[in-house]
Symmetry: C2
Subunit: 303 residues, 2 copies
């Protein structure tokens, strides 16, 4: 498999990191993205650049799609110049976009009718882990798709959760993870801005909570941004506007009430509405502060 | 300090566990509680039983109060037969009840006027850790109060967070912890019942989330109860009805909106309203299941 060809579609912070991880592990990566900056970054790391998605997938056994959602996946696969028409029979489309499980199953069915395999492979871990090849992948799909994609997944991920042979299971588990992650970020922000309102020593509160039953992965990860006043985006507010939105759409379709996630979504929406959609998602704390006359640690100058 | 006398007021699951830990470490514990069962349990562990709170505190340098809230603390201290009238000058009242910071500061002031010290010392960790002497204590108060209570705190706790010399800080930090803990329990239940609605393999989802960014201390701790269908109360639904209620009262008084915690409180209330108030707080998952035609793992027979 040394220097095997792979196409990476979408070179945002996650896709670029994954492409770089693959390059370091000897893959012949051909990337495609609308952004000149993203294309230059891949070229600087030793990757090839294709002018069109169809050109990128030419001769590839694996096409790794790291676009944002189901709509972009639809465009990439079946829109004008879509890759479904150019992919090799028996090759596999590995989809890391976050989407409703139903959308994932539909893509798999439509590609199957063209003799193309589909692997449902949403990712978790953030840009830093993407760049280090240490993501978590929540994968499901046909055994033949896993056979082809297995080594590639191991090269981008620290943990590959193999969740059975039905597309949509990976997407579903990712949604469950995002529900929790989004609620935990909003709760961390609600709690820390309240701590500021109560005139508590925020670094002390952080240390106590880290060692207590109120801790979460997101609390540990995001609260330092609040303590540093640093809202440069590692993961932007808009990501959870999207993901908690998908969860509400899915829950509504299932006739499942999800009021805690709904409340969290409102706070991400308010944060975006107040002009912070592109900032780090710990900015939800700034929204709470603005609602309650609270001073958080001042933002530092950005590098 | 060997066989030093200490009064423990309130022998519920937390107070009894703390009293037992103190007995094992050589304290001469005198307990008081309205429940015969609780009194018998302390006697069986080698403790002395007092007929009244005033009798219990006689000759004690430390009075450890493990009642539920500010109202019970008020009664114990200043109600008919209250201990404030019987405590020795210069002794310390250590309060582990969860209450609003304001109430804690008021108790401290009223006791100070009688020459009695007050230590704000709410606890975290649950009944199992109480019994093992491994609680977390979030303590604040005068240095003289700490001087007297320090060894006792070390004997009931794995971690004593010393949060300064103002009563109310311990209570505030405990509230921040409970906000997060309550939201995380509700989110874990919302997520796992949704996973069941999506026909996912629940033990598999648990394993994936534990290793992903959606994890929390409460997710890891409570979801096994759902997987086992075991809702025998380790911590009852009513505890978070109380604690998230205090948080809403406090947030309202501060003019601080806390919509995520408010949504979580509604789900604890609904779970209690549906008849599960005395069951384990993972029962919130059963409430979600009942709202959405979902089957969770069946409850096992209780021992």
């Amino acid at each position: 498999m040394e220097n095997a060809k792979i196409a990476v579609i979408g070179l945002g912070s996650m896709g670029l990191g994954m492409a770089r991880s693959l390059l370091r592990r000897g893959w012949d990566v051909c990337g495609v993205d609308l952004s000149t900056e993203a294309r230059n970054a891949l070229a600087a790391a030793g990757g090839r650049i294709a002018e069109t998605p169809q050109a990128a997938v030419d001769g590839c056994q694996i096409v790794l799609s790291v676009v944002v959602n189901a709509q972009q996946t639809e465009t990439i696969l079946f829109g004008p110049g879509g890759v479904a028409a150019a992919m090799t029979q028996g090759s596999v489309f590995v989809s890391s976009a976050t989407m409703m499980p139903k959308a994932s199953r539909e893509f798999a069915d439509r590609l199957a009718s063209k003799g193309i395999l589909y692997l449902d492979a949403p990712i978790s871990g953030g840009a830093v882990k993407a760049d280090a090849g240490e993501l978590s992948v929540m994968a499901s799909g046909a055994p033949e798709a896993f056979d082809i994609a297995e080594k590639m997944l191991a090269d981008i991920a620290q943990k590959v959760f193999r969740l059975g042979d039905k597309p949509g299971v990976g997407a579903s588990v990712k949604m469950i993870n995002q529900l929790l992650a989004g609620v935990h970020i909003a709760a961390a922000c609600e709690a820390m801005a309240l701590a500021a309102k109560l005139d508590l020593d925020l670094p002390q509160v952080y240390e106590v909570i880290k060692g207590s039953a109120g801790n979460s992965w997101m609390f540990e990860n995001r609260v330092p941004h609040i303590l540093d006043g640093d809202y440069a985006p590692l993961s932007a507010v808009e990501i959870f506007v999207k993901d908690l939105g998908i969860i509400q759409d899915m829950a509504r379709a299932e006739r499942y009430p999800a009021p805690v996630a709904a409340a969290a979504l409102q706070m991400f929406l308010a944060t975006s509405g107040a002009g912070m959609g592109g900032d780090d998602d710990a900015s939800v704390a700034r929204l709470y502060a603005s609602l309650s006359d609270v001073d958080l640690p001042a933002p530092k100058a950005r590098g």
